[in-house]
Structure formats: C-alpha cells, structure tokens
C-alpha cells in the first residue's frame, strides 16, 4: 500500500533521514520505535508529505506522492493522521471538527457526515460530546475525537504520531483501546509510539529507528525478545 524508496530528509545540514526503504502492506500494523531524534516522526510525516523529502520516492496505492504533479490533497483524503498534540480546531464544536473535511470535500452531505460522526463517536465512547468544544474535554477525550475526525474521511491508512505522548498517564489507556479496536477492524496503521506494550500487542512489524535509518525490524516477538543490534538492545533495556 505504501512503498518508500531511498528516502532522505535534511534540515539544512542536519540529516534526519538517511535512506529508508520500506513497504507497508494493506492491513498491516507497523509500529516505529526508537530514541528521540532518531527521525521516526519525520519519517511518518513524510508519508503524507507534511514533511517534504529531500530525495527519494514514496508511493501510495500506486501513485507517487513525491511527484510534484500529484494532487496531494486528494491523496491525503485517504490517509488519516493523528497528532501528538491532538490539533483539534478550538473554534469548532466536536461535531464541526469531525464533519468539516468530509463536507468541504463534498464527499458527504452535512446530514450524512453528522450521521457518520455520531456513529464514530459512539464507537469511541463519546456520543454525548458532539456539541462540546475541544477545550471542555480531557486530553484523552480530545485524542479520541481527533481519531474520529481522521476516520470520518474513510481513510485507507491511519498515521499516528506519538498519539499518547502528550497525555496524562491515566488517559493513555482509553486512547490505546480505541487504536486496538481500529487494528482489530483491519485498518492499515503506521504508529510512532513509546508504548512498548502496545507495539508488542498490536504490531505486525516493529521498526527500530536510530540515526535516520531503520536499524532493525521484525515481528514484535522476535525484535523484543532477541534484538540483534547493539543499539536496539541498549534502547530496549532502557525502556522496558
């Protein structure tokens, strides 16, 4: 579904990504772990071109998204993204947050979008929050709404950029539960996270990144139990 070929990203002289080659299959759950500054968030943000790669190619469902002629907005409609800081729109209600994009894209009428939003809100356990404003909600609730907002576009893949890192510890569980359900429903997911339990449980494949490259990858069972690379071993020792 997503193919990445020799992806490089430089910020000025700083080389953040140093040649990444990856293929993510439909339905696959890929979890990216690694120390901070390893380039994992940058890699994720390159996948929907929030970060412009310096060189290399990314293909999404057969279209090269790194081609300047590609209509990136159309492709982004099929790629949901969830941010560390939620980034809900504070001037809009929860319902408006969710329906804004589908209605603006004329993918659905307002009624259809609201119906869909209500169904999704029930699924994440927040059916009564439709008319609330983001500020009235807890971090965990906001992040669940942010997931719903991305899902309302019927994306083919969901990108998660450290979705629980800005949350109070007691709210991490409720967000991971929603993501777990999403995984069970067969959604293709790419998740950057520090939640090793989640990586082990939900991930089909775990990528360990350091220094702008994927140092090691494998099934969670293999990677967590027998890390081959010294830096992977060092990292896992510190976080587990």
């Amino acid at each position: 579904m997503i193919t990445v070929k020799d992806l490089h990203k430089h910020f000025g002289k700083l080389e953040v990504l140093n040649g990444i080659n990856q293929h993510i299959r439909a339905g696959e759950k890929v979890v990216i772990i690694g120390p901070s500054g390893s380039g994992k968030s940058t890699f994720l943000r390159c996948l929907n071109l929030l970060e412009k790669p310096t060189s290399g190619q990314i293909f999404f469902e057969g279209t090269e998204i790194t081609d300047p002629k590609t209509d990136i907005d159309a492709l982004r409609c099929r790629m949901g993204m969830v941010f560390q800081q939620f980034n809900l729109f504070p001037h809009l209600t929860v319902m408006e947050n969710i329906t804004l994009a589908p209605v603006t894209h004329k993918m659905m009428t307002r009624d259809e979008a609201q119906k869909k939003a209500k169904a999704l809100l029930s699924r994440v356990g927040l059916p009564e929050k439709a008319d609330a404003y983001p500020k009235q909600l807890s971090g965990g609730q906001q992040q669940r709404i942010a997931i719903v907002r991305a899902l309302a576009m019927n994306p083919d893949v969901m990108l998660f950029d450290e979705p629980t890192s800005a949350l109070d510890p007691e709210m991490v569980g409720e967000v991971l539960d929603v993501m777990r359900k999403l995984a069970e429903d067969g959604m293709t997911m790419v998740v950057v996270t520090h939640e090793m339990g989640f990586a082990r449980e939900v991930g089909d494949r775990v990528l360990f990144m350091d220094g702008g490259v994927v140092l090691e990858e494998g099934t969670p069972g293999a990677l967590f139990a027998h890390p081959a690379n010294a830096r992977t071993q060092d990292f896992l020792r510190k976080v587990l």
Binding site: N87, P90, H105
Partner: protein, 262 residues
C-alpha cells in the same frame, strides 16, 4: 472685529428665539467687555454653536468624518488582508512588494502621504475630496491592518494548519476555515484600536480642506475668533463617536470570549 460680529449676531437675531433674547440681554455688556463668568460662557456657546445654526457645521463635519472613516476602514481592511496574505504567501516577489509597502507607509508621516495623494496623484483631476480622504486614509490604515492580521495569523499554532492539510484541505481552505477565524479573534482588540485611531487621524484631512469635524471647528473659529470653544465642541463630538465605538467593540469582544468558555 468683535463689534461687527456682535452686530451681525444682533441682526440675525431679529427673528428672536429665546436664545437670541438671552443674547440681546447681555449684548451691550459684551460690547463694553464686562461680562461676568456665566455670561461669558453663554456668549461663547451662543456665538460658536447657536448663532446662525452653526451647530449644523459641526454635525456636517462629523458626518463627513464618519463617512470617510467607515469607507477608509473597509478599504484598509481589505487591502490589509491582501497585504497580510501576500507577506505570508511564501512567494518572494509578493512578499517583497507587501514588505516595501508597509515599510514606506509606516515610515513616513501620514500628513505627507495625504499631501502627496491630494496634490500629487489627484492634483490635476477634479475628484471629490471625500474620495481622496478615503483613499489616503485607507492606504495608510492598510499597512497597520496588514501587520495586525499577519501577527494574528502567525499566532495560530502550526499544528492547526497541519491538521487541516492532513485532512486533505487545500492551503486556501485551511486558511479560510481554520486559521483565519482563530486569527481574527486574536487580532480583534488591535483591529478595534486601529479603527479608533483611524477616526481620529482623518482630522489630518483638514489640511487638504476637507471640512470634516476638525476643519468644521476650525471654520467656526475663523468666524468667531474664539480660541477654545469650537475645538472643544469638535473634541466632544470625537469623544462621543470613539466612546460609542469602544463600547460596541468591547461588547463584541466579550461575546467572542464567551465562545472560549462554553
């Protein structure tokens, strides 16, 4: 001079309203120059406001001040938004043009700008001075409005733009639906300040003989030679206009803030 003035007043008062009667009662004392405190005040009010319906001059001046301010504010708001977007467009030539515009307008006196526009640009064209005033004040205000709006837009967290773009919205849709409403809320107090400043600054148009509120007061002074009263009348009218506007805008602001606490 005073004598002729007073004579004129007397003649006009032949019709004799109650104000004219009061004036006639103290006219001789005024000519002799020995009015007491209160009589003096009445003399000032009579000559500068009541006589010959002079209060109409102030009101007409206020009308022109409001007219020029309203259209200049509108013009300045649109041009200012355009300039702000040019500066944030990321397109080098547009950024440069807008930057130079703001630099020139903010770096030179408004009086000079008004004179250049009046005598330079429109010197040889017969055009209503009100229109010149709107153009001159609008051009000036736009520079300040663009800075206010630009900083408002920059105050909106980058994550908002990223969230909008990640949902497949174009950069224009993201700006219009997500960034702009939030920026406007932040910018509103400064924007209101700018509008109130604009009202006061239209007084510069007196220099190109547009009879707005300040010029109206000046005109009365040239008739009565009262050093204070006409300007004070103008000043009170300015205060009424800016006071009402301040009230209205702070009400609007409170209303917007309530949205935050819902």
């Amino acid at each position: 001079m005073l004598a002729t003035l007073l004579m004129g007043a007397t003649q006009a008062a032949a019709g004799g309203t109650v104000f004219d009667q009061w004036w006639l009662a103290i006219k001789d004392k005024a000519l002799a120059g020995n009015l007491d405190f209160w009589e003096n005040i009445y003399k000032e009010i009579y000559q500068n406001i009541l006589f010959n319906n002079r209060w109409l001059n102030y009101l007409k001046g206020m009308g022109i001040t409001l007219e020029v301010s309203f259209f200049a504010a509108l013009f300045g708001l649109f041009l200012g938004m355009l300039l702000a977007m040019m500066r944030l467009s990321g397109i080098r030539p547009l950024q440069k043009i807008a930057g130079v515009y703001v630099g020139i307008i903010r770096g030179t006196p408004m009086l000079l700008q008004v004179l250049i526009i009046n005598f330079g640009l429109f010197g040889s064209i017969a055009i209503d001075r009100v229109v010149i005033g709107v153009i001159a004040c609008g051009i000036n205000s736009a520079a300040y409005v663009s800075e206010i709006i630009r900083s408002g837009i920059l105050s909106v967290d980058l994550g908002q733009t990223e969230a909008g773009r990640s949902l497949g919205l174009s950069s224009w849709q993201t700006l219009r639906l997500i960034v702009f409403p939030q920026a406007l809320k932040t910018a509103l107090p400064s924007l209101c300040n700018e509008f109130i400043t604009l009202i006061k600054e239209t007084s510069i148009l007196a220099y190109i003989a547009l009879t707005e509120l300040t010029k109206a007061g000046d005109y009365i002074r040239s008739k009565t030679y009262s050093a204070f009263t006409p300007y004070i009348v103008s000043g009170i009218l300015y205060l009424i206009v800016t006071g009402v506007l301040t009230k209205l805008l702070s009400k609007l602001e409170r209303r917007l803030r309530q949205g935050d606490n819902r």
